[in-house]
């Protein structure tokens, strides 16, 4: 536990390094200019949102598979991860809209990628609605976990397939004729540092949220014992 706590604190060094690299070290893209620098925030944030949803799905699978109840808090971890994923998805939409405003002249264009992220958002908002509606239901954890697994199954379709099936103005097909991401070494390494920083940032937030959840459960158990 202490090793995890120490490892996630590397975000205090990694994130400022990523910010400085994004603004000063990485060169601007020729067509997109300095606006391309938002990529070092938009792409890692989008990556974290997908990662958070995958973690919540995997935690849900483990929660449902665990018949002995030895990992009782996994549904809580799945909930926390989905919560982080939802916030990061909103941030992805915001950063994407800013980039769209600069590049396309409008904040929203109903591009396939924009539409698919709205659907992902709605799927996970529905999860929190279900969780809120079943606050005192004993099956809350199981139903929520089943929903998160189904939601995770839809992710590859909306995040990766839809934007590639339908023509899109999203930069990855546009910048590159061969439909592969072309970045020079400095841009690539800056993006890698930014992705690592945001991933560690996600781990740090999840770690704190899980510890808070554990404390909350402990307090509630003590209160029940006192009653």
């Amino acid at each position: 536990m202490k090793a995890i706590s120490a490892a996630v604190k590397s975000v205090y060094i990694l994130m400022p390094a990523a910010i400085v690299m994004a603004f000063l070290w990485a060169p601007p893209a020729q067509v997109l200019g300095d606006s391309s620098r938002i990529m070092y925030f938009h792409v890692p944030i989008a990556w974290v949102s997908i990662l958070a949803f995958i973690v919540s799905g995997i935690a849900s699978i483990l929660f449902l598979a665990d018949r002995k109840g030895s990992f009782a808090r996994l549904d809580g971890i799945a909930y926390n991860s989905a919560e982080i994923g939802l916030v990061f998805t909103v941030l992805t939409v915001i950063t994407g809209s800013i980039w769209a405003r600069i590049s396309w002249g409008v904040f929203w264009n109903w591009d396939p990628r924009e539409t698919s992220i709205v659907i992902i958002l709605l799927i996970y908002i529905a999860y929190f609605s279900i969780q809120g509606a079943m606050a005192h239901n004993d099956n809350r954890g199981r139903i929520g976990s089943a929903y998160l697994i189904l939601a995770m199954i839809t992710l590859p379709f909306f995040a990766f397939l839809v934007p590639r099936i339908y023509p899109s103005l999203h930069p990855d097909p546009i910048i590159n004729a061969d439909r592969t991401i072309f970045l020079d070494d400095r841009m690539r390494s800056t993006l890698a540092v930014a992705i690592v920083s945001f991933t560690v940032f996600y781990c740090y937030i999840l770690h704190i949220m899980n510890r808070m959840m554990k404390l909350q459960n402990h307090i509630e158990e003590n209160r029940h014992e006192a009653d």
Binding site: E83, S103, I174, A177, I208, H218
Partner: protein, 97 residues
């Protein structure tokens, strides 16, 4: 709720980053224009990022970076303090467990 507070701060940095950019890239073709170039089969090598650009970063870029770093410092202080408080509560709860 705290998480939403933390990340809403992060949201603030992004319009700042976006707002500063158009002034730096006036006269550049938009993505829509480059999409048209793709559709009409023009040379895509032009779209590759330049490695030879040795322009000094503009002051706006420094300003945006300053704002982003400032917001990150705020977030980092908040996270650090939260982490410390949780650790303190954990230590207090441990003997009772």
């Amino acid at each position: 709720m705290r998480l939403i507070n933390i990340l809403s701060c992060a949201v603030l940095l992004l319009p700042a980053a976006g707002a500063a950019i158009p002034a730096d890239r006036a006269g550049e073709p938009s993505v829509t224009q480059s999409a048209a170039q793709v559709l009409h089969g023009q040379d895509m090598q032009k779209n590759a990022p330049s490695t030879e650009q040795k322009q000094e970063p503009s002051t706006t870029l420094y300003q945006v970076m300053g704002v982003v770093l400032f917001i990150w410092i705020g977030l980092a202080v908040f996270l650090f303090r939260l982490d410390r408080r949780v650790a303190r509560l954990e230590n207090r709860a441990q003997p009772k467990q």
